[in-house]
């Protein structure tokens, strides 16, 4: 079972995405903010990260850059999300994909599949 970390401050969307990911047989660990996510990733590396860009205590783009700079987390597939419709917001982050909000369920599944396949 693949492990996925979900970083999303909106509790409604966090719950929905957890449901959807579990439905696809992922082991989901969800974080409401950057601080709790950083604490955990330093202990355990997941197979996939889904992260919102606008976080109350940090920025998804910066977090992503840091992960890419560290040897241990350099290769983790990362998917950034934002209600900012413009994908250029994720430029230079080193993320594998950008998913604009709102998205359809199928779009989410499609995006995850593409990212994971590319990493194989």
């Amino acid at each position: 079972m693949k492990k996925v970390y979900l970083v999303e401050d909106d509790y409604g969307l966090r719950d929905l995405m957890s449901v959807l990911l579990i439905h696809k047989n992922f082991e989901v660990q969800a974080f409401p903010n950057a601080t709790s996510f950083t604490k955990t990733i330093n202990k355990e590396i997941p197979d996939l990260i889904l992260m919102d860009i606008m976080l109350p205590d940090g920025n998804g783009v910066d977090l992503c850059k840091n992960l890419r700079d560290a040897r241990e987390t350099k290769e983790i597939p990362i998917l950034l999300m934002s209600a900012h419709a413009n994908p250029s917001i994720a430029d230079g982050s080193g993320a594998d994909a950008f998913l604009p909000k709102p998205f359809d369920v199928e779009e989410l599944y499609q995006c995850i599949e593409t990212v994971l396949e590319a990493r194989l």
Partner: protein, 783 residues
């Protein structure tokens, strides 16, 4: 010695003495003193007395000599004297003598008186006989009279006409037959009848009347101005028996004299200088106007060179003028400068024309010089007024069209400084900063910013107080002598480094609320620069400026509110998106799980509404991005025709009520555009077409291409738009009257227009109420 009456031929024997006595030629002999020795009968006849030997010839008063003009020569000048005192023995001299003023050849010879040895002088007066006969002479005279161009008339002393020549016929229109024997008064106008008496009196005295100008009538009664010369006619005995009249018509001469007089009067009394000069540039005439303008009298300048009037630096003008004149050209209204007697330079307008003599040769030039000082002053004044008017107009336009406070106050300061003639001007202006704190801005004109940098703002001193409390304008010819000046510590006047101010003017700027928002201050280092007209002008600009400043303050406030609103919309729509994503997600999960048909129907309706909500949020967000200038575009090349085909298909599925009819041509149409945004624009147009033609069944989607443009049109058969609606339909939040009851935010067309504009295209509408509308856009074709 005694004389005898016997004829020359009567006696066969006679002495020389006797012979001399009988000679029909007057002769006499006298000594050098003129004492008569011998004379003959013919001499006695000539003298009309019996001349006795021993008398002096100078005592014979009847021996008269006349000069060529018929005047008697006095005895002191007698031609005899000359001869008696002469040493020449024989002198032939032409004289006129005797009571009839006859011509004689005076021939003299000297002889010796044998017995006494005294020299005697013999005088012989030989009558001058004409070489022509009287007949020929008369004939010639008649011919001359007959064919003379002058009317020659003779009359007797009663005034009856006795002769009448051809010219008289022509002049008076009477034939000779008609007038001979008639009274001369026939030719007299009533009021001239007294002339005749005067003429007759003169003639009777034997005197001539020369060039008497009068008026006579011709046969038709027309008045003819004449010049008359009237001479007495004498018979052979010298008695006056009539008069000859020579009449010359002078109407032409009178006319030309009259004209001449008129012209002279005009020239003399003209205010313009009228000068003539010869081709050497020497002044030949000079009128009163010239004296008035240039200060020289006529006597001072006649014969002087015209260059007297030309300033040294303009001397070459004279050469040019003369050159033109010599080639027969005129110079008209040439504006230049001339110099007066006192050395003052005055602006003049010159018109110079050649003067020609009767043969047409150019002999000089006439110059008309008009002093145009006044004209130039007037012109300058008009120009200055125009400049002021322009400044006023432009400042009015500038400040009413400009909403930026700093720009408005700078423009006002510049314009007012220029208009008032101030050396420098300043506008002190109260405003609020972003934190609501009051502060004073200022702008300068005519002085660098540094000139005021180290000086404080105007304080509430006596000089400034009335301005900044709005009590009214202050205008002082010399501020340094004003009672309010110099009363304040520490400088007691202007602080060191202050620009010199003597003339001072200050106008308060008062907003519509009555609050003093600022003051316009002007200075000049000279006294009395600011006049009432300046004060009036600046006051009116100050009033305009106050309005403009009020407006710009309002505008600033509205602008900041509008910015806040756009920020809020962006934030709100962003916040709305996240829960919407969640709602849609759960609905989609349910859609997968629920099999029961009616529940599935409700779910799909819920999803449809979620999509609609999504579109609305997206529109709001885009709108706020456009307002903030943050809408971004990503251009790519794609086939527009293909995109339209896909859209039409998708739309046909979703809009079950309408059929999309495409007319897109056969060939791909490659464009470089933001595909997503263009799609958004087209969806807006198609949705509108469906939405606003509820009773129609068709929507037309057209694509056409020409050399320059790609045209995409969406046509409906719906309610259409009025002309007024067509003008406003692309504005933000606008919704046509007729669309009440149809949902919408009024953002779709606004966004569509922004998208098309960003593609350098044009969005437009053609519409007719009741017949439907076509919204279309043109994109420039890329090759």
């Amino acid at each position: 010695m005694k004389s005898t009456e016997s004829p020359l031929s009567s006696a066969p024997s006679f002495s020389v003495e006797q012979l001399l006595k009988e000679l029909p030629v007057p002769l006499f002999t006298c000594n050098r003193q003129g004492i008569l020795h011998l004379s003959n009968t013919a001499f006695d006849e000539l003298c009309e007395l019996k001349a006795l030997p021993g008398t002096s010839v100078f005592e014979i008063k009847t021996l008269k000599f006349f000069d060529g003009n018929g005047r008697r020569i006095s005895s002191e000048n007698s031609p005899l004297l000359e001869i008696l005192h002469s040493r020449n023995p024989v002198i032939n001299k032409q004289v006129k003598a005797g009571p009839k003023n006859q011509s004689f050849l005076l021939s003299t010879s000297f002889s010796l008186k044998a017995d006494q040895g005294e020299q005697l002088v013999n005088f012989c007066l030989i009558p001058n006989y004409s070489t022509e006969s009287e007949e020929i002479k008369n004939a010639r005279l008649s011919a001359i009279v007959e064919y003379s161009n002058d009317a020659i008339i003779s009359k007797d002393l009663n005034g009856h006409i006795t002769s009448w020549n051809k010219a008289a016929e022509k002049l008076f229109k009477y034939t000779e037959e008609e007038v001979i024997g008639k009274h001369i008064s026939l030719l007299f106008p009533e009021d001239r009848l007294k002339d005749e008496r005067m003429i007759l009196d003169t003639i009777k005295r034997g005197e001539q009347i020369k060039h008497f100008e009068t008026i006579r009538l011709d046969k038709t009664g027309k008045e003819i101005p004449l010049s008359l010369t009237i001479s007495p006619i004498k018979d052979s005995a010298g008695r006056i028996i009539g008069a000859s009249k020579v009449a010359r018509e002078i109407s032409e001469r009178l006319e030309s004299e009259k004209k001449q007089a008129h012209l002279s009067a005009i020239v003399e009394h003209s205010d313009d200088a009228i000068i003539s000069k010869d081709l050497n540039g020497t002044i030949t005439s000079w009128n009163h106007g010239a004296s008035k303008i240039f200060g020289y009298s006529e006597e001072e300048v006649l014969g002087k060179p015209i260059t007297l009037l030309i300033p040294a630096e303009r001397l070459q003008e004279e050469d040019l003028i003369l050159k033109k004149i010599k080639s027969g050209e005129k110079i008209q209204h040439f504006e230049t400068v001339r110099v007066t007697k006192v050395g003052k330079e005055i602006p003049v307008s010159l018109s110079v024309s050649p003067i020609k003599n009767l043969q047409g040769a150019i002999i000089g030039a006439s110059k008309i010089a008009r002093n145009i000082e006044e004209q130039i002053r007037f012109r300058k004044k008009i120009k200055a007024y125009n400049v002021k008017l322009n400044i006023l107009n432009s400042v009015g336009r500038d400040i009413s069209s400009n909403l930026d406070v700093q720009t408005v106050i700078q423009k006002v300061t510049d314009a007012c400084t220029k208009l008032s003639g101030a050396k420098f001007g300043a506008f002190f202006y109260n405003t609020e900063n972003g934190n609501g704190e009051s502060m004073m801005l200022y702008t300068l004109s005519g002085a660098p910013k540094e000139a005021f940098e180290n000086l404080g703002m105007p304080r509430h001193t006596a000089v400034f107080q009335s301005t900044f409390t709005g009590q009214g304008a202050v205008r002082i010819d010399d501020i340094t002598s004003d009672a309010r000046y110099g009363q304040n510590y520490p400088f007691n006047g202007m602080p060191p480094g202050h620009l010199k101010v003597v003339s001072y003017m200050a106008i308060p700027v008062i907003s519509s609320s009555g609050k003093v928002t600022g003051g316009l201050l002007f200075g000049h280092p000279e006294k009395g620069v600011f006049q009432e007209e300046h004060e009036m002008m600046i006051k009116s600009i100050a009033a305009q400026a106050a309005i403009a400043l009020d407006n710009s303050r309002l505008f600033e406030r509205v602008k900041s509110l509008s910015e806040k609103k756009d920020e809020f919309i962006a934030l709100a729509s962003h916040e709305l998106k996240t829960p919407l994503t969640t709602v849609k997600g759960y609905l989609q999960i349910l859609e997968k799980k629920i099999e029961e048909p009616s529940s599935r129907l409700f779910l799909s309706k819920a999803l449809e509404q979620a999509d609609r909500l999504h579109t609305l949020i997206e529109d709001l967000l885009n709108m706020s991005r456009i307002e903030a200038g943050k809408l971004e575009f990503h251009y790519e090349e794609f086939d527009l025709r293909e995109m339209l085909l896909d859209l039409a298909e998708t739309f046909s599925h979703s809009a079950s009520t309408h059929q999309i009819i495409t007319n897109l041509g056969e060939n791909p149409v490659i464009v470089k555009a933001d595909k997503q945004r263009l799609e958004q624009a087209l969806i807006n147009l198609l949705s509108n077409a469906v939405k606003y033609s509820p009773t129609a069944q068709k929507v037309h989607l057209n694509l056409s291409v020409n050399d320059e443009n790609i045209r995409v049109g969406v046509r409906d058969e719906g309610i259409g738009l009025t002309e007024e609606e067509q003008k406003q339909v692309f504005s933000r939040f606008y919704r046509a009257e007729s669309t009440k009851g149809i949902n919408g935010l009024g953002l779709g067309l606004y966004l569509t227009k922004q998208i098309i504009d960003a593609h350098h295209g044009q969005l437009a509408v053609e519409s007719k109420v009741g017949a439907g509308s076509e919204f279309y856009f043109m994109l420039p074709r890329i090759c």
